[in-house]
Amino acid sequence: MMGRGNWKFFLGLSGALLLLILLPLTFKISSYSLHIFIMVLYFSYLSSAWNLLGGFAGQHSIGHSAFVGLGAYTSTFLFLQIGLNPWIGMVLGAILASLAGLFIGFLSFHYRLRGLYFVLVTIAFAEILAILFSNIRFLGGASGLVVPLKEESLWLFQFRSKVPYYYIILTMLALNIFFCYWVRWTRLGYYLMAIRENEDAARAMGIRVMDYKLLATALSAFLSALGGTFYAQYTYFIDPLTVFGFGLSIEILIYPIVGGVGTVLGPVIGTFVLYPFAELIRTLLGARTAGIHLMVYGAILVAIMILAPRGIVGLFGKRFSPKKEK
């Protein structure tokens, strides 16, 4: 069940995890740096969730913000309206997002549609939600929702310091990676990869292609929505543009592709390299003229796609990189 050499994998991973656990304890980190770390972990988490569907199963969603947004809005809305505990709201949001995922999946996979349909449908679906949420006053409209400050407690998912948030998202990420690793080396993972490589062959081997694609979509949506609630609780504020926007959807998939799509650690590596780098060019160039730093970002993206199409993981040996031909 487990792949060869996995003890090395776990040793490395545990080491990295230990370092990350100790980080806020041993060093005096400024609030700003801690924020960057939290965002890196947050995007690692979302990218890993995307990778489950986009990487393993090869179904590329460019509308993952739909799921993040549903998670963020469900928990926040219920907390605001009926005072429902955010942790329960988090799970409800995730369930709602999986149902949405099943719906989108059904729309784009039935009649054995494949490939670009899913891409276009996911983009469209996220956009519908962004427009809807911007226009329904009941849900906060374009100005969004503010999470009410009650008291500082784990039960209410509210803290004054950033440190607890750091540990929460670190835990979520660790569990997510472990889950991806488990999927990767079990029957489910092999099914998904078979579907990615050749759908017809997978079907001929007796894999229920439709069911597994839907399952992967639902799982990925579920995990993404949990991330959405975390974001809402961390920033205390959500609006349609930040949680449903096209920009977020793109950011979520950039990291896995830069890191190495379809590998367990690719998304995390991609985020750890690219996010701080993007932050750096933002602080260096962002103040001068609006748009310059994003121009650089776009140019880097183009360069990576042409020069290192298999991502960072792909640069280091074949062992980690999946075969990917159309």
């Binding site: 986009g54 590329h60 460019i62 729309l107 784009s108 039935h110 009649y111 054995r112 549609l113 490939g115 670009l116 349909y117 891409v119 276009l120 449908v121 983009i123 469209a124 679906f125 956009e127 519908i128 427009i131 809807l132 911007s134 226009n135 096209f246 793109i250 998939l253 950039i254 592709i257 799509v261 003229t289 609006a290 748009g291 310059i292 994003l294 121009m295 970002y297 776009g298 140019a299 880097i300 993206l301 183009v302 796609m305 042409i306 199409p309 990917k324 031909e325 159309k326």
Partner: protein, 291 residues
């Protein structure tokens, strides 16, 4: 109760926007059909074309309709440039890489425009901007009417080229079966280059037309890109005629829908149409069912 005049007015303006959608979408669907690439930077090409029309008028007093003759070749060569240096190297890469590359180009161009032209909304003040034609009780803006006539004729002309010329036949052959086209002596790489450039050239026409009555801003392309995606699915991916009628249909849906609901919500209708199509006839209005 909605009066008949209001309804007809909405139909007319729906068809006008629809003709622009038809033009932008036919470029997108052509690229999709032949190169099998979703060009996310399509919207930014349109945005640049609109800015070109804007500044040609502000700087040199060149009428946008005349400027088309200048902007069309510029966009054609810009498309060729983009294809040659960026698209060509990744033609065999996984589809998600191709999409991400065009997203990168899109981010770059959008922010280039932001840096150069600022985020201000700009509109052209033409001598005939406010002039209208009366058609019974319905009035049509002169620029709108001209834009409609031109975009319809250009799209139909384009369709004629695809159907009746050697170049058109080669493009359709490359779209249907790349290997077979090569066997028949078609230089497929050259066809790819021409197709991508022609797709961009469509926007060289659509941009100036649109700039006569629509605002220009660095993010204007996104609106048209998303609508064009829906039109492309609606018409059947890669189906030129489908994109034409799909564009008109979406224009009508938006415009007529806006009578019955708050204007900012009417784009949702576009997507409702999309969902219905996907449920009932996912190969598009004019598509043939594959297996």
């Amino acid at each position: 109760m909605v009066s008949l005049d209001l309804f007809l007015q909405a139909v007319v303006y729906g068809l006008i926007m629809g003709s622009i959608y038809a033009l932008t979408s036919s470029g997108l669907t052509l690229i999709l059909g032949v190169l099998k690439i979703i060009n996310v930077s399509h919207g930014e090409f349109l945005m640049l074309s609109m800015y070109a029309a804007y500044y040609l008028f502000q700087g040199f007093q060149i009428d946008p309709f005349l400027a088309t003759f200048l902007i069309l070749p510029i966009l054609f060569f810009f498309g060729a440039f983009t294809f040659y240096f960026f698209i060509r190297p990744i033609l065999k890469a996984p589809e998600i890489n191709q999409i991400l590359l065009t997203i990168g180009i899109s981010i770059f161009l959008q922010n280039l425009a932001l840096a150069l032209f600022t985020a201000d909304f700009r509109t052209l003040e033409l001598s005939y901007s406010q002039k209208t034609l009366a058609l019974g009780k319905i009035s049509i803006g002169v620029p709108h009417f001209a834009a409609f006539m031109i975009s319809i004729s250009v799209t139909m002309g384009f369709y004629w080229v695809l159907k009746n010329t050697d170049l058109g036949r080669s493009i359709r052959a490359a779209a249907q079966n790349r290997e077979a086209a090569i066997l028949f002596g078609i230089n497929v790489d050259r066809i790819y280059l021409i197709t991508f450039s022609l797709g961009a050239a469509c926007l060289g026409v659509a941009g100036p037309l649109l700039a006569t009555f629509y605002y220009v801003t660095p993010t204007v392309g996104t609106v048209f890109l998303l609508t064009s995606f829906v039109v492309v699915i609606l018409g059947g991916m890669g189906n030129f005629l489908g994109a034409f009628f799909g564009g008109l249909l979406i224009g009508l849906t938006e415009s007529v829908g806006a009578i019955f609901m708050p204007g900012s919500l009417s784009p949702v209708l576009t997507f409702v149409v999309l969902i219905v199509i996907l449920l009932l006839k996912p190969e598009g209005l004019f598509g043939k069912r594959r297996r």
